[in-house]
């Protein structure tokens, strides 16, 4: 479908206005609320890794009758997985901030 000329002109006008607004706006810093969100997400990541690890270990113990050895091992693995997820999350935030700073 052919886009009318006046719509095209309006589109250009909107794009220009958006660019101007972006240049005028000061760089936004993280608010306290976003810090809280980061903290909460880190907490959930740490806990969920451990819980999922423990659940896998418990299931393996129940199925193969390992006398709770798997529960112990997989809880530790789960804790490590939680820390890994938290580390990756923090790394992604840092990368994002570096990109924004450029």
């Amino acid at each position: 479908m052919q886009v009318p000329e006046d719509i095209k002109a309006l589109d250009e006008k909107i794009a220009k206005a958006k660019l101007l607004k972006q240049q005028e706006e000061p760089q936004t810093k993280h608010s306290d609320f976003s810090h809280l969100t980061i903290g909460l997400r880190l907490g959930v990541e740490l806990a969920s890794g451990t819980i999922v690890g423990a659940a896998i270990g418990y299931t393996l113990d129940e199925v193969f009758d390992f006398k709770y050895i798997m529960l112990l091992i997989f809880t530790i693995f789960g804790g490590c997985a939680g820390m890994l997820n938290a580390y990756r999350y923090i790394k992604s935030i840092n990368t994002k901030e570096e990109k924004e700073g450029e």
């Binding site: 479908m1 886009v3 009318p4 719509i7 909460l40 997400r41 959930v44 990541e45 806990a47 969920s48 890794g49 819980i51 999922v52 690890g53 896998i56 997989f74 693995f77 789960g78 490590c80 997985a81 939680g82 890994l84 997820n85 992604s92």
Partner: protein, 240 residues
């Protein structure tokens, strides 16, 4: 007066049992059907007269569409656009479920681990299928990233596997906890309104404020769920 946890009780509306399995139509199922119907109806109504320059009503679904499209584009890239319909459906379903739960006599199905957990597992399976289709055997690299010495494989493979499996769990817990806590708080404070008599105006005011805040949380949580689903999809497509 009913307890604060009573609102989360699942009630059978149409009992159905097939092969010993209880697949009854419950109040949770009803709210899910309502949420889906509501979204489709609103979109169909607003998009009745499609024009090149959108009117007020056409602007509503278009803005939502563009907003989620931008999330997919920013987090997954152009490659993710073909999976947009899945992300769009998922986020609208959760957002409508969260908002619907705020209405009196309604039921918040997003406050149940089983409902949200099933959605998250479905999203994880979807991401895995997308990753396997794209990278074939290379997808196994997710469990053993490049550059790690092979003697470390017995440690890294279980850790990476748990890391992958904990993603839907953390997604679920975040949404369920937010929805459950908000509704419990509303109910407890509402309990004070009747108990305090004339002074009940104070908790009533607080309840009003919390409802406004809950509406914000309902949309925010759907937004977070969408962003995280996009990030996990991006991991399946680009990672390692």
């Amino acid at each position: 007066m009913s307890g604060p946890m009573e609102q989360f009780e699942i009630k059978k509306l149409i009992p159905i049992e097939i092969g010993g399995y209880d697949i009854s139509f419950t109040n949770s199922s009803l709210c899910m059907v309502l949420a889906a119907t509501l979204v489709v109806s609103i979109f169909a109504l607003c998009l009745r007269k499609r024009t090149l320059v959108p009117g007020v009503y056409q602007n509503i679904p278009e803005s939502i569409y563009e907003f989620i499209y931008k999330i997919v584009l920013d987090n997954v890239g152009k490659e993710g656009v073909k999976y947009f319909s899945f992300i769009f459906t998922l986020s609208l379903f959760i957002a409508s479920g969260n908002i619907l739960g705020l209405f009196p006599y309604s039921f918040t199905f997003t406050s149940h681990l089983a409902a949200v957990g099933a959605l998250s597992i479905f999203a994880l399976l979807f991401n895995m299928i997308v990753g396997i289709r794209k990278k074939k055997w290379g997808y196994l690299r997710t469990f053993m990233p490049r550059g790690i010495p092979w003697p470390l494989a017995p440690l890294i493979i279980p850790i990476e596997t748990i890391s992958l499996l904990s993603k839907p769990f953390s997604l679920t817990v975040r949404l369920v906890a937010n929805m459950t806590v908000g509704h419990i708080m509303l109910k407890i404070i509402a309990g004070f309104v009747a108990a305090l008599g004339v002074c009940g105006v104070v908790p009533l005011f607080f309840d009003g404020c919390i409802i406004a805040f809950e509406l914000f949380i309902a949309v925010l949580q759907a937004y977070i769920y969408t962003i995280l689903s996009c990030i996990y999809l991006s991991d399946a497509l680009h990672y390692h």
